[in-house]
Amino acid sequence: MTIILLWASPAVATALAILVRPYRRSVGEASVGLAALSLLASLWLAAQALSGTVTPATATDVSRVDSLSALLAVCITFVSLVASALGPGLGADRDGNPILFRRLRLARSAAAPELEAADDEDDPAQSRRFRIFQNAFALTMIVAVTANNVALMWVAIEATTIVSAIAIPFERSKASVEASWKYLLICSVGIALAFAGTVLAYSDFVSTAGHLPDALNWNILRNAAPSLHPELMKLAFAFIVIGYGTKAGLAPMHTWLPDAHSEAPATVSAMMSGVLLAVGMYAIARWKAVVDAAVAPAFTNALLITIGLLSVAIGAFSLVIQRHYKRMLAYSSVEHMGLVSIGLALGPLGTFAALLHLVNHAVAKSMSFLLAGRILRRYDTTELARVSGLLAAMPWTGPLFAAGILTLVGLPPFGIFISEFLLLKAAVMTDHVWIAAAVLVLLLTAFISLVHHLNGMLYGPVPAGVRIGESRGWAVMALGGCAIVLLVLGLLLPPPVAALLDRSIVELVR
C-alpha cells in the first residue's frame, strides 16, 4: 500500500503543476508537501524492509521494495524534498527563504511590514516548468528504484534522462542549450546500449526457461541466473556497465556531467548529481548481483575496478586546474562515483562501503550544489577567481559550503571519511593493496586541489558590489539540516542505517 503512496505523491504533484495553467504559489507549496509525504512513505517502507517483510511477497507484482531500494528511495525523496523546498516559485525573499514558512514565523512577531515588499517574484512560467519537471524527475527516479521489472526500471531511467534534459535550460542561453543537447544525446545512446544488454539477458533467459510472463523480475532473474549461459551474461554485463555507467557518470562516459551540472539550475543539478548518479550505480549493482550468480565475480570485479580507477583518476586530475566551482563539484561527482564502482567490486565489506558512500555523497553533493546556487545568486559568477571572502559575505552559506567541501574530500567528522576508510580497509583485506595505494594518491590530489580552491573562495577580500550579510532564514536551516544529517552519518552511523546496509548486502552479494 505504501508503495502506491510513494509513487502517487510525486505523480499528483506533477499533474497539479501541469493542470494549474496560470502558476500560483500554492502549487509550489503543494508539491513541497507531497514531496514530504513521499519521504515519509519511503521511510515507512525502509522500516518495513528492516522488519523483514519485503512488500509485496508475490514476485509477479510490478514493484518490489527490498532494503536496497528502500535505502535509495529514502535518499531520492530526501534530496527531492530539499530541492523542491528551495526551488523557485515559492515567493522566496532575497536570501531564498520561502514565504510560507516566513509567514508562519512572522505570524508570531507581527512587526514585519517589509515582508511583502521584499519578494522578487520568480517568473511564473519558469516556476511552472520547473515544478512539472522537478516532480516528474522525482517520480521517474522513485519508479526506477522500486520497479521489480528490469525493463520497467530501464524505461524509468530513460524517462529520467528525458525529463531532466528539459529541466536543464531553465534560462535559455547558448551554454545551457548546448549542455542539454549533449546530455540528452550521450545519455540516450548510453541508455539504448543498456537496453541492448537487458534484451541480451532476457533472450538468454527465454531460451533456457521459456516465455514466463514476468521473467524480467529481479528475484526470478536471480534465481534463474545459475542456469544461464556465462558467455552471454558477460556480453550482457558489458553492455549494461557501459550503458548505466553513462547515467552514473563513470569515465570515459562522464563527459556530459560537467556541462549538464554546471549549466543546470542549482536545484536540478543537486538532484542530478546527488541521486540520479546513484540510480545509475543502483542499476549496475543490481545487474552485478544477477551476473555474479551466472559468472565468476572476477569478470565483473575487473571491469568495475578498471572503470572505477579511470573515473577517480580523471575526476581527481580534472580538479587540479579548475576555474569554475560548479564544474569542480561535477568532477568531484565523477571521482566519487568511481570510488563507489571500485567499492562494489571489493566483496561484502566493499559493497557496504560503496552503498554508505552513495548515501553520504547524495546528501553532501546535493547540499553543496544548493549552496553553490546561493553563492551564484549572490556573486553572479561561477568563476573561482572572482569569488572570495565568502565567510565574510555570507556568514551562513560560507561555513555550510566549507562543511560540504570538507565532507567531499573525506575529512572526519563527516560521513564520507568513514566510507572511504571502510573502502580502503576492504581493498587491503581482499589484498588489492595496489588499488588502495592508487586510490589514496588520487584522493590526495583531489583533496589538495579542492581545499586549494575552497581556500581561495572562503578567505580573502569581499569583491566590490557583493552584498554582505545573510538572514538566517528557512533555506539556511534546511541546508543546515543536511549538514547535521552528514554529521550524524559521520559520527554515529545510526544502527538502522547500518542494518539497512547489511540487509542490502545480503541482497547483492550472495
Partner: protein, 650 residues
C-alpha cells in the same frame, strides 16, 4: 558565548586530561573504555591508555594548560571579532583531538582523532586569514597533513590481520607474524607518515610556514605538543607493534635525525621572523629526539638492551623538555609580537626595559633550548650524548662509525643553536628599540604571563630534578615490551643520572647548587670590596657624539659570518640596485640591497611533484574538448573495449 566560557571549558578539560595521565603513570595500570555503537562497522570507538600513552597525554596537558590560560587574554583582544566563535570551538576540538590520539585503542579511533586534530589546527592557522601568506601557509599545512594520513592509512591496514580485528592488541599480535619485507614496508610508511607530522627534514616544509601564521598560543601548542604525537605514533608502531627491527631502521632514524638537527638550526640562523626562527628550532629538536631513538634502535638491534634504554629514555625526556621550553618561547614571543605588532626582529630591540618579565621568560627558554647546564635542555641533551657514546660498544665498526659522526653533527647543531639564540634574545630584547612600536611597548597583560611562568618553573624543576624524573621515564618504558630496560639498570631516584656501564654520571642538582653558591659568593666578595655606586654615561663610541639605534648590530649582521661559512648550503641570492643621481654617476641617490636564503631542497623535492600533477591535469583537461562527437567516440570505444574484454578475461 563569552570568551571566558570557551577558555574556561578548555582549561577544565586539559586539567582532566592531566589527571587521567598522572593516574595511569602512577598506578601503571592501563585505563580502558569502549563505545562500540559508534560506527560499529569500522570497529567502533575503543580507548586504551597505557603508560606510554599516558606520558604523551601528560605532555599534551603540560603544553595545553599554559596555552589555554594564555588564551583568556588573547581572546579578549579579539572580542567581537567575527572569527572568535569559530576559534573557540576549533581550539577545544584541537585539544580534544590531541588528547584522544594517545588514548586511541583501535585504528579507527586513532585515525579519527588524528584527523580531528589536523582539521581543527588548519582552521586555527587560518584565524587571521587576511594576508595572503597565511592562506598559503594554511594550504601547505593541510596538504602535508593529508599526505601524512594518506601514508598512515595503508600502514595501519597492512598491519591489521582481518577486517573485524583492528584493535591495537590485534595489531600487536599480527605484527609478529609479518614477513621481514612487509615489516620493512610498514616501518617506512610509519617513518614517512609520522615523520611528516613530526617535521623531519625532507617533510618539514609546512612547519616554518604554518606555525608562525597561527596565533602564538596555538603555535606553542602545535610546536610544543602536536609534533610530539608524531613521535608517539612512531614509537607506538615501530617499537610497540613491530618490537624494533634490523639495524638499518635505526640507521635511517639516526641519519634523518642528524640531518634535521643540523638543517633546522642552520635555517633558523638565517631567519629574521621571530616565530619562523622558533619553528625551525622545532625541526632541530625533533631531529635530536630522532637521533636518540635511532641510537636506541641500533643498539637494540644488536641485542645491547641495557645501552638502548638510555636512548629511548633520552628521547622521551627531550620530548617532555621540548614541550616545556618551546611552549615557553612561543608564549613569550607571542607577548612580544602582541606588543610590537610585528614578527620581524629588525624592528624590535630594547624590549628588556619595557617588558622585563617577558624578557626573563624568553631568556630562560633560550637557555633551556641551548642546553645550558642548570636547565632541563642540558639534562636531556647530556643523555642523548651518552646514548651516542654507548654506540661505541657495537661489534661492527662500519655501523659504530656512524655514532661519532652523529655526535659531531649534534654538537655543531647545539653550538649553532647557542649562536642563534644569542641573536634571537640579543637583537630583539637588548640595546635600543629600533621602531616606534618597540619603543612604546608595555608589559603584556597578567594572564598572558601566568602560563609562561608555569612553563618556566617547569623548565627549571625538570632540569634540576632530572635525577628524579629519569627513573620515572624508565617505568614508562617498561610498559612497552619492545623497550623493556634491563632491571639492573633502573636507578632509584637520587642525585645522579647514570649512563649505562658507568660511562658517565652527572648530578644536575649539585651543579646548580655549585653555580648558585659560587655566584652568590663572588657577588658578596665584590660588594664588600667595592661599595661605590656605578656612574651612568654614554656607550663608548670612539669619540663620536650620539649613539643612534641605526648603529646597532641587526639580526642579519649578526648571522652574516655564519652565512659566509655555510654559503654553499644557503646559496644566498643577492641583488644590489644602485640608482645614481641623474646628473652624474658618482653621486648615489639610493642603494637597495636584497639578499634572500631560500631552502633550495624544498624546491628540489616539492616543485617537480606539483609541476608533474599540473602537467597531467593539463592533459586530462583536453579530454573535455567540447565536441559532442568526440564524447560519443569515447562511449563507443569504451563499449568495444568492454565487449572485447569478454573474451580475454577468465
Amino acid at each position: 558565548m563569552k570568551t571566558r566560557h570557551f577558555s574556561s571549558i578548555c582549561v577544565g578539560c586539559v586539567v582532566f586530561a592531566l589527571a587521567a595521565a598522572l593516574q595511569v603513570l602512577i598506578t601503571a595500570r592501563p585505563l580502558d573504555a569502549a563505545v562500540p555503537a559508534v560506527v560499529a562497522a569500522a570497529g567502533g570507538l575503543l580507548f586504551h591508555l597505557d603508560p606510554l600513552g599516558a606520558f604523551f597525554l601528560a605532555v599534551v596537558g603540560i603544553g595545553g594548560l599554559p596555552a589555554a590560560i594564555y588564551g583568556f587574554s588573547y581572546t579578549e583582544h579579539y572580542e567581537g571579532h567575527r572569527s572568535l566563535p569559530v576559534f573557540g570551538v576549533m581550539f577545544n576540538v584541537f585539544l580534544l583531538g590531541m588528547s584522544l590520539v594517545p588514548c586511541a585503542g583501535n585504528i579507527f579511533t586513532f585515525v579519527t582523532a588524528w584527523e580531528l586534530m589536523s582539521v581543527a589546527s588548519y582552521f586555527l592557522v587560518m584565524t587571521d586569514a587576511e594576508d595572503v601568506d597565511t592562506r598559503q601557509a594554511g594550504l601547505w599545512y593541510i596538504a602535508m597533513t593529508q599526505f601524512s594520513l594518506v601514508v598512515l592509512l595503508p600502514m595501519f591496514l597492512l598491519l591489521a590481520p582481518a577486517a573485524d580485528r583492528t584493535s591495537f592488541a590485534d595489531l600487536r599480535i599480527a605484527a609478529a607474524g609479518l614477513s621481514p619485507q612487509l615489516r620493512g614496508v610498514v616501518f617506512l610508511l610509519a617513518l614517512i607518515g609520522f615523520g611528516s607530522k613530526a617535521g623531519i627534514v625532507p617533510l618539514h616544509v609546512w612547519l616554518p610556514r604554518a606555525h608562525p601564521a597561527a596565533p602564538s598560543h596555538v603555535s606553542a601548542l602545535m610546536s610544543g605538543v602536536m609534533i610530539k604525537l608524531g613521535i608517539y605514533g612512531l614509537i607506538r608502531v615501530v617499537f610497540d607493534f613491530l618490537g624494533g627491527g634490523p639495524a638499518w631502521w635505526g640507521a635511517l632514524l639516526l641519519t634523518a635525525g642528524s640531518l634535521s638537527a643540523l638543517l633546522g638550526v642552520l635555517y633558523a640562523l638565517m631567519e629574521h621572523d621571530l616565530k619562523r626562527l622558533l619553528a625551525y628550532h622545532s625541526v632541530e629538536n625533533i631531529g635530536i629526539i630522532f637521533i636518540a631513538l635511532g641510537a636506541g634502535a641500533i643498539l637494540r638491534s644488536y641485542g645491547l638492551h641495557a645501552l638502548a634504554t638510555i636512548g629511548f629514555a633520552a628521547a622521551l625526556y627531550h620530548t617532555l623538555n621540548h614541550a616545556c621550553f618551546k611552549g615557553l618561547l612561543f608564549l613569550a614571543a607571542g607577548q612580544v609580537v602582541h606588543q610590537t605588532q610585528t614578527r620581524n626582529m629588525e624592528d624590535m630591540g630594547g624590549l628588556i626595559k619595557a617588558m622585563p618579565q617577558t624578557a626573563l621568560l624568553f631568556l630562560i627558554g633560550s637557555a633551556a633550548i641551548v642546553a645550558l647546564p642548570p636547565l632541563n635542555g642540558f639534562a636531556s641533551e647530556w643523555m642523548v650524548f651518552q646514548s651516542l657514546l654507548a654506540g661505541t660498544s657495537i661489534p661492527r665498526p662500519e655501523v659504530a662509525i656512524g655514532f661519532p659522526v652523529a655526535v659531531g653533527m649534534l654538537a655543531l647543531a647545539s653550538g649553532l643553536a647557542a649562536a642563534c639564540f644569542v641573536k634571537a634574545f640579543g637583537i630583539s630584547f637588548l640595546a635600543m628599540p629600533r621602531s616606534m612600536h618597540a619603543s612604546e611597548a608595555r608589559e603584556a597583560p597578567e594572564s598572558m604571563r601566568y602560563g609562561a611562568w608555569l612553563l618556566a618553573d617547569l623548565c627549571v624543576l625538570l632540569g634540576v630534578g632530572a635525577s628524579v624524573v629519569v627513573p620515572a621515564l624508565y617505568r614508562v618504558l617498561e610498559s612497552i615490551d619492545g623497550l623493556v630496560p634491563d632491571p639492573r639498570l633502573t636507578p632509584a631516584p637520587g642525585l645522579w643520572i647514570e649512563a649505562p656501564r658507568a660511562l658517565g654520571h652527572l648530578s644536575p642538582a649539585l651543579i646548580a647548587l655549585l653555580l648558585a653558591a659560587i655566584g652568590f659568593g663572588t657577588w658578596l666578595i665584590v660588594r664588600s670590596v667595592h661599595r661605590r655606586p656605578f656612574r651612568v654615561s654614554d656607550t663608548w663610541g670612539c669619540g663620536r657624539i650620539a649613539q643612534t639605534p641605526r648603529m646597532e648590530y641587526t639580526a642579519s649582521a649578526f648571522a652574516e659570518p655564519l652565512r659566509r661559512v655555510f654559503a654553499e648550503l644557503y646559496r644566498p641570492t643577492q641583488d644590489l640596485t644602485v640608482n645614481a643621481h641623474p646628473d652624474s654617476p658618482y653621486f648615489v641617490e639610493s642603494i637597495t640591497f636584497k639578499s634572500e636564503v631560500r631552502p633550495w631542497f624544498e624546491e628540489a623535492i616539492y616543485d617537480p611533484v606539483v609541476r608533474a600533477a599540473r602537467r597531467i591535469a593539463a592533459r586530462v583537461r583536453l579530454l573535455q574538448s567540447g565536441s559532442v562527437h568526440r564524447y560519443l567516440v569515447y562511449v563507443v570505444v569504451a563499449l568495444l573495449v568492454a565487449l572485447a574484454s569478454v573474451w580475454w578475461t577468465p
